[in-house]
Subunit: 307 residues, 2 copies
Amino acid sequence: MTIYDTVIIGGGPAGLSAGLYAARAGLQAILLEKSFLGGQAVTTGTIENYPGFPEPITGFEIIGRMEEQVRKHNLPIEIKEVKSLTYQKDTDGYTIHLGDGQILNTGTVIVATGALALNLDVPGEKEFTGRGVSYCATCDGPLFREKEIMVVGGGNSALEEAIFLARFGKKVSIIHRRDALRGDKILQNRVFENPKIQVIWNSVVKEIKGDSVVKEIVLYNRVNQSSSSHKIDGLFIYIGTKPNTAWLNSLITLDSKGFIIADEKLQTNLPGLFAAGDCRQKELRQIVTAAGDGAIAGMMAYHYLQQ
Amino acid sequence: MTIYDTVIIGGGPAGLSAGLYAARAGLQAILLEKSFLGGQAVTTGTIENYPGFPEPITGFEIIGRMEEQVRKHNLPIEIKEVKSLTYQKDTDGYTIHLGDGQILNTGTVIVATGALALNLDVPGEKEFTGRGVSYCATCDGPLFREKEIMVVGGGNSALEEAIFLARFGKKVSIIHRRDALRGDKILQNRVFENPKIQVIWNSVVKEIKGDSVVKEIVLYNRVNQSSSSHKIDGLFIYIGTKPNTAWLNSLITLDSKGFIIADEKLQTNLPGLFAAGDCRQKELRQIVTAAGDGAIAGMMAYHYLQQ
């Protein structure tokens, strides 16, 4: 049975970058991905803010390039689900049980399982994702200069992103299901004081319509029990982000939202277990910050094994 | 006089990425660079470990692409030296005096002035940099599989990198000017126990020779006062790294080596003054970690100005 130096769990930008650095450091490494490479990066539209790509590029293309790069360094990539991860205190290593019954032993683990933006789950949402529907204002906000924008949600993220989007859009409407926002008072004040932002209360999205791009949205008012149709160009959905960390079964310390807590070496509270990318508690979740995390985690795994 | 939202000082990967994110966030931003864009990235040879570029690419090319990208977002870039940076407590802003006498006022500053690997300053060093002479084992180590490698230095970095390079090279010789290493005892032990590593004591590099690539090195033994010639393929120089932070004149907190201390938001001890890339105290200095830093600093400057 192979005993790995490091097992990387997750094949988005963080996992692929960790794999690149681990393989180049000469570690016996493997990358496990449960469904498809790329994570959230491949479900977004075009990417304009990964440094080094002046022309807009699809997430699919960037991930394809990252995959080609790690394959050149002979990193094995397997599409397999991790069933459980356990720490072996006696050997100071980890045991990983896979969905197909296989068992891997490894000295270190890099968890790069990402996060998932919660969906509205309404007609048109999937179809128009990347074509007017977005889950990332930082990424896509500048595409909507002087346009009609709507933001769904009422928490801190929704309010912050609405304020950000108001720098670009002609008007920003916040669609909120209740009659009061959940976000911090200071953010609420900034929203109410911003002449470009309005709040549409007690409403939920019923349907998203368009042709090649989003054109119209149908809202349902839960108090009046009436529907209304609105012309829009962009819809930003901020109803929550869920890190893919439930499978860890409280093995390591998470914050109240389920994000992994790691230090600047990306070391979690268990020795040799590192976290990289969107699944960890961090300031900014972007492809380039995930790739930076991956590089650090790959090298820190190497240094950990040296000791 | 323009009052900027943010002034980015330094035009390497960290500064360019900060500029990209700041410009996309709609900030009134400017990037100042004192000599040429790219920093250390353009003085290295080919780059294999910036995620997204499966084919080896020159630093010059990557930087050119990053520059094109920020120019598309209309970030002004000026080749001007910063003479001084001062914090105005009353306005909570910063004043920057440039070498040409111009004065800029700004709400935030992103310092991305990088670091410099110290040179040996011997014949052949400049000529063969990127062609056998390297200052980054993480970047170039894998190019020297089964090759003859020498490392110059005796501190922690030199020892760590020699151990790393021993994974690839046929033999690694550490050239040290004294009769005892400076690095930590634990690293010294690992060096002495590694069958692939030898130390050449009391010696300095006199000359580096080759044709299109490095072939030979001339060493001078300071005790015997004799010269000797050795066939080599790669020379890694680790005699120290100097962050470009002396110009800050103790405005912000630095560590004992002069690197800027910043938190996970890349905020220094002065409000609105952020540090990104190689100039700050951090775990791993690579193009991708610098670019990740830049993205965070750009967005944190935006969030800071919102408050």
